[in-house]
Amino acid sequence: MNKDDTNQVEEEELEDEQPHAFWSGIVAFGLVSLPVSLFPAHSGKLALKMVDANGNLLKREFYCEHDNRALERDDIVRSYEIEKYHYVVVEDEELEALEPKRSREIDLKRFVPLSAINPVYFERAYYLVPDGDTTKAYRLLAKSMEDEQRAGIATFVMHGKDYLVAIIAAGGILRAETLRFHDELRTPDQVGLPARQPADKKMVERMRAAIRKATHKQFDSELLSDQQAVTLKKRIEAKLKSGTDVLKAPEEAEPAEAASNVIDLMQVLKERLQGRSPQTTDHQPAKPGRSPSKGKSHAASKPHTRKGA
């Protein structure tokens, strides 16, 4: 890509700013099927919106430099650079035709020791909540997996993309951890790291002594606190309290879900784990093969976003 042209759009920039994408489907355990929904186990970072100097919310717009005209969704097409300067145009339908629609399910055909999955494979974590009118199959699978200390391994399809996933049970709750595919991880050789060399014995002993001295038994998760986010939050709260730089919501209120930064993921998880049905529009499962576009005030003007295949 031409470095000077920072304005060119690669599709990544269109990706959902919200980590609240999810999926609904079936976990298959032998012939037992278990309807579930996936919710992210991580809430996103504190999100800020772009505004102008007067505090008006801004919207991204696509345009063509040639005629300097705003472009609608239908004016835009995807392309792929198959060789340098050789672009192949791809229509949505062509990609959709390749989507393996069968896999609205996570079929657990193998169970591996939890400790056998190296940390480098873990990509993104989700909680599984039971759908439907009974939690029995969910509880049964969670309990037996926990007893056996095994993780179920499967592939499945979410938003038109293949995922490798480990289903893990802890405290009666099932999680889905998407795993990186093997070929996404570089080997030390591919990175170009030098071959291991024998180390100086004295230096090794000195380091071991230092490690021993610095070893704690307990993990204090407070050490992983994001000071920058904490300070930012304090600043926002102070401004809200004093009323400085605060613009009140417009009278003809936009739908709250379109504007707010706040989605109480924890509350939704608590309710759904107890089998309470999904609330109104806010937390409905995405349609098969589509990225959810909730929480975006200008979803309609954006092309259908698709994570890189």
């Binding site: 996103g44 970072k45 791809v90 940390p119 730089d245």
Partner: protein, 258 residues
Amino acid sequence: MAIRAMWKGVIHFETIRVPVKLYGAVEDRNVHFRLLHRQDLEPVHQHLINPETDEVVPRENTARAYITESGDRVLLNASELEVLEPEPSRDIEILGFLPLHVIDHRWYNRPYYLGPDEDSAEFFALAEAMEGMQVEGLARWVMRNKSHVGALQLYQGYPMLMSLHHTEEVIPVESLAAPEGPPLDKRELGMARQLIEMLDAEFQPQEFHDEFRERVLEMLAAKAKGKKVRKHVPLAHERSMDISQALAASIEQVRKHA
């Protein structure tokens, strides 16, 4: 074959200092599409507009806003946000070492390889020292204007920094209550455990492939050669509902195939 280092830093704990280079351990293999204007196949650009007036707003004239639940906007200008950015530093500060697995997969984010910088003696001494000690370090560093937390661990004999999620991002499992219901049937639980044991396997990640990505790349290559694009036909199958029957039938099925 070798890739370029993305950052340089110095690991330090107690009196130890180890200069290292940082390399991405994850290769982005996603298929990236470029958006084009359908009419003239020119790359699409984007700018910010005020949706009320359709006026284009240049980046330098923008500010940020936090939006509360009730829709109020709290304005934050660029200089306010800049003050919050961490001081640039080359330090990879080790806050302490912990027994392996105390920091579990709930925290993992993204792995980075470490390689020696300048003198490699300290680097290989660190690798050897960590080997067999069954510990990992808890690290903090500032890279590209962001503060990171991570675990210093060994991977394939090389020190690796596994970046971790910040506490504020993780929804702790302890804060959630597991689904409730009548006690589970002992016999069913036994069958479920038996089925898990029968499906016991080794973790062999090289057996799995991103088949959708492979099909997309195949389709693109075919299109580039002007071939007709093949359609993929999905399959479907049914499943039964009664758990006891389903478990018994599953065990029978696995046994037959064994």
